[in-house]
Symmetry: C2
DNA sequence: CAGAATCCAGTCGGATACTG
DNA sequence: CAGTATCCGACTGGATTCTG
């Protein structure tokens, strides 16, 4: 299951669905700028398969498909969100660590 | 930073370092059966670069290198562990969701 | 012991074109 | 609108070999 958490697009999808209750395919596509429609399709199918997202098709023309989090998906979203929150709070520390590491690496090369 | 959380080997490394305080390269390698020495090297260097892991080299022959979590790394580990805990608690639900999805998918094909 | 370097097969994901 | 299908370049990570 950690695969899904480790997947960039899955996380972003879940986060957006967490703030919007229900979203159509194209709405999600617009929210997640940069995602290809192929990856959105694949990601949503995987999330649906795992029981995190519910997909409802309204049989009209043109097609109308809604996505929303299941209770399980909402629970996952809470966890993911708090992890993202933590990541956000400490990203500055990581940035500094990287800078100092890279600086040391440069030193080691020149010596 | 979510890259690191999403990386399978990073998560496993962090978890092991969370229960062992300090580990040598080969000890980690043995604990994480299945990892190649290349990926262990790469993973540890990335974790060190991000400031999650401290690497201490004792200049003896043969080499003796120790890895341990930094305070930042320990904080990350707590988060990761609770997420893994959640994942574990709900993996059965996911398994069922997948089964029912796959069953439905088969139906749809045959109809 | 703890890596570094190289090679290479497999996978991922973007771009594009087509459809009910 | 909401996909599916195909092609293909890029990156990933394992296996292997070599080193202080």
């Amino acid at each position: 299951m950690l695969d899904r958490i480790g997947d960039r697009w899955s996380v972003i999808c879940i986060l957006h669905l967490g703030e919007h209750e229900v979203l159509r395919f194209t709405e999600l596509r617009r929210l997640i700028s940069g995602i290809s429609q192929r990856m959105l399709t694949v990601t949503l199918r995987d999330l649906e398969r795992d029981g995190f997202v519910a997909r409802k098709v309204k049989p009209v023309i043109p097609p109308h498909v809604e996505y929303r989090l299941t209770p399980l998906g909402r629970a996952l979203m809470e966890n993911v969100r708090s992890l993202c929150q933590w990541a956000n709070d400490h990203q500055e520390a990581v940035r500094r660590a990287r800078e100092s590491y890279d600086a040391r690496a440069l030193q080691d090369v020149s010596s």
